[in-house]
Symmetry: C2
Subunit: 89 residues, 2 copies
Amino acid sequence: MEHRFVEKATGAIADKYRLSILLELSDKGSMTCTDIQELTGLSQPCVSHHVKQLTESGLVNARKEGRNLYLSLNKESLQQLSGFLEKLG
Amino acid sequence: MEHRFVEKATGAIADKYRLSILLELSDKGSMTCTDIQELTGLSQPCVSHHVKQLTESGLVNARKEGRNLYLSLNKESLQQLSGFLEKLG
DNA sequence: CGTAAACATCCAAACTTTTAAATATTTGGT
DNA sequence: ACCAAATATTTAAAAGTTTGGATGTTTACG
């Protein structure tokens, strides 16, 4: 297990807005940046920034379709992180 | 599950020094702040600060014995966090 | 082509975290 | 009582994060 991945992924989760995005993605399956803007009430550039952190962490997948960016959970990496923590404790 | 706990706990893990402390605790079972100073090469106040974050996150238990502070993993909270992530993905 | 919608990038302000020097506290040994 | 060891606290600097305004890019639609 890459410790850098653990560091990045936990860092990506450790924010109330990003956590709420992850929860919503878990619930809904997929969302666009505009959906996230509505969900969080944050400005568009700020949403863009959080989305970047989430995708760069590897926890979230992004698929561009026309003008929209569809986000979804990367379930494998979430399972990887979960497994790491389970073994840790 | 408390989202504040998830936020705090992931934030506590998201640092290379704190992650290495957690790994070492997982391996060795228990350590003092002096051990951590040797492990990380950080200054004593800095270690004290990181230890505080880890204990306040709930991921690490601290037991004072004489002049020493013995740290150990809080396995239950690690399992809780792991379970949260597993359900998320 | 012109316009608007969706997202990205750049920038700077506000805020938070990380770090260590100095100092304080608590405890154990002599 | 004295001294040293282990940790905590205070303080301040450096570095990093978060935020939104302004602006840029890409794509859809009439």
